[in-house]
């Protein structure tokens, strides 16, 4: 019975090992949160001595910050990809609201919330958070501006409205993190609110009942 005591980790190329470490960090963050990103935790997951993780990272602040950026940027790009397949701004805005509120990404939401707090004591992370928030805001702003051009929306300050919608989505998601029950059709309520903000026709953003 040797089970899994594992004598010594096989020797790998720096690039490969570095990738293993960042991947392990990603998994740990999604499962247990950014706070669980410790040298020993990551090392154990990779199956390696803690010193090796330290050897591949300048310090833990950096690993936390880059792990956050990796996870969150992937989500942004995924959704932006979906957006690009839709023809009208109304459909795009509708998809944004629906998709972001469908509770399928609560693990990422948890990381956002944790990062807002951790950023107070980790300057690198704080910078990452601002950067990723800007990226999200730009996605929303693009959709709003498109709708303005089309005439579907009527917004004087697209940037401000984009920030606003983003904030609302974040808040509702954070709420779902703690209180999953209570409210069901959050999407349609938010859609109605957003209609008011962007000056869209009433009902134009409310999700269709599964076409």
């Amino acid at each position: 019975m040797s089970s899994t005591p594992q004598k010594r980790a096989v020797r790998k190329s720096p690039a490969e090992r570095a990738a293993e470490i960042t991947e392990a960090a990603r998994e740990i963050a999604l499962e247990t949160g950014l706070t669980a990103l410790t040298l020993r935790n990551v090392a154990a997951r990779v199956g390696v001595a803690s010193g090796l993780v330290a050897h591949y990272q300048p310090n833990m602040e950096a690993l936390v910050s880059s792990t956050f950026a990796t996870i969150v940027a992937a989500e942004t790009q995924e959704i932006a990809g979906l957006l690009s397949q839709l023809p009208t701004p109304s459909e795009r805005l509708s998809l944004l609201v629906d998709t972001l509120l469908d509770n399928s990404r609560l693990d990422v939401t948890a990381i956002w919330v944790e990062a807002w707090t951790l950023g107070r004591r980790n300057e690198a992370l704080a910078a990452s958070v601002r950067e990723q928030m800007d990226a999200w805001q730009k996605v929303f702003q693009g959709v709003v501006e498109d709708g303005n051009a089309t005439g579907a929306f009527n917004v004087s300050d697209a940037a401000a409205v984009a920030w606003q919608i983003l904030g609302m989505v974040d808040g509702l998601n954070a709420q779902a993190l703690v209180r999953w029950d209570g409210v069901n059709d959050r999407g349609s309520h938010l859609a109605r609110a957003v209609e008011g903000m962007v000056g869209a026709a009433p009902g134009s953003l409310v999700a269709k009942p599964a076409q």
Copy 2:
């Protein structure tokens, strides 16, 4: 030069000492966050040995949880008090939105956000968080229901809409925590969105320019 080495703390009644400790905890939480609530931190602020803090608290989880509840409940009651002085539901809802977004309570917002994360690993805190969120929701729900009765609003599910508005406010506040700049008139944007959600007349919730 004796500066402040302080030989021994004066002997006080249990009630008095307990009050000192909870007050110190409150201050620390508001200034540095719930994470900074450690035995040694609190003890140092009171000017007392760390063991004494432990003696007055079952454990630190409990102190964190009760400190959160103290801070947050005070805010809820403060705002609820202001509300009760206004005659119409529209004015009350308008005050809620304006006041909660005026950036004068960012320290409390930071504690909310921190509690959402810490609640994952502190069950007592998680229970406190749910309790205090319910309290806030009830405040919003009451205003919405009043507006329904008056005819100022037209909402089918007041509870759901209340949760929704609360979530939006939380999100926008959390956003302000990280990105203070960017958006100025968040209040009026949100007001317009809320008008759409509660079916209020357009403009009826937008803050008047200082009467």
